[in-house]
Symmetry: C3
Subunit: 141 residues, 3 copies
């Protein structure tokens, strides 16, 4: 990965072939003490992608093996049990360009990812909220 | 809903189970006098969703009943007949994670929505432009 | 096209029926000397759309003829061989609202596009990186 721009809370990072995503981003956030951010764009390609669909209690999971175009990435960074947690939903195009997607657990960068993040002076935390759901919140004053 | 962050024109709002969306957001914009904004991310889940496809004259509409992952939300807030109007396009994943989407008329939050908005010191208005199309514009000087 | 807002690095542009996209945007960037930007939202409709899927060596290309809702647009602007280059991935809804998408080569605006861009004081360049892949980068110091 390479940070291409980081100024006025706007951050653009390029991820490279073979890197785990979003694990590499979470590690960078931890090192840089980024605790709250909005992820507003991310295009490129992933392979060996684990996506999920929440059924109200837990995630149904599916592996998308082939290298796939990332049509969109949206989400945020918050603190979950004292570590930066990257919550992302992804839309992917399969080999005939049909779109599929869900919650992004993990994938491997197969070409590049060009990510746009807005770092926020917030105190986002994840609060256990029943089942496996952790809501995005801020500490009570 | 809960405003989790609002600073330097960047606003993050969480919507909760049972809330109408984007009606709840439009009401908040009216109360807070937010007349112009860009909506740049929104992930979570909706159910009883009405989406549409514009055929050049009017919208073909469809109801997506089951709780569905929101893969992306993009759009804006402008003033239409003196009230804040939320224009959003949504991409949803159905039960086998295939993506569908269109213009978002309405839905009910079935888990959470984590929305990212950039409030703008603009004067966005909707101007009737033939048929049911209202273009995004600014007042003539 | 009409620039509806341009302040504090945030730019909202409306594109109109018959305009080429993103060619019209690239031309505007050249005229306005916009060399680096994040494109974080874009909704509207396109027709005669050429999208592609990168196979690791080159793009498989496909034409989507009918007027289609743009569900999302994400990408960036950088300098490629001394001209602004607009890199965008698009998600489109076809006539039954199923989503398809990929790299956006070109299309014709069939209703409107409402585009949100963050202009960056960066020095984004495209560097040839093997095959037809040009990575997003910044000049070495």
């Amino acid at each position: 990965m390479k940070v291409l721009y980081r100024n006025d809370s706007r951050t653009v990072i390029r991820f490279d072939i073979g890197e785990e995503f979003p694990g590499t981003l979470a590690n960078w956030c931890e090192k840089e003490k980024v605790e709250s951010a909005a992820i507003v764009a991310g295009i490129g390609m992933l392979e060996n992608i684990e996506i999920g669909r929440y059924d109200g209690k837990e995630y149904a999971r599916e592996i998308v093996q082939p290298s796939s175009e990332i049509l969109s990435l949206q989400g945020n960074v918050s603190m979950k049990e004292d570590k930066p947690f990257v919550h992302l939903h992804v839309s992917l195009a399969d080999e005939d360009m049909t779109a599929r997607g869900g919650h992004l657990f993990s994938g491997t960068v197969s070409m590049t990812i060009e990510l746009v993040m807005i770092e926020l002076s917030a105190k986002f935390v994840r609060i256990p909220s029943g089942g496996t759901f952790w809501r995005l919140d801020i500490p009570q004053e």
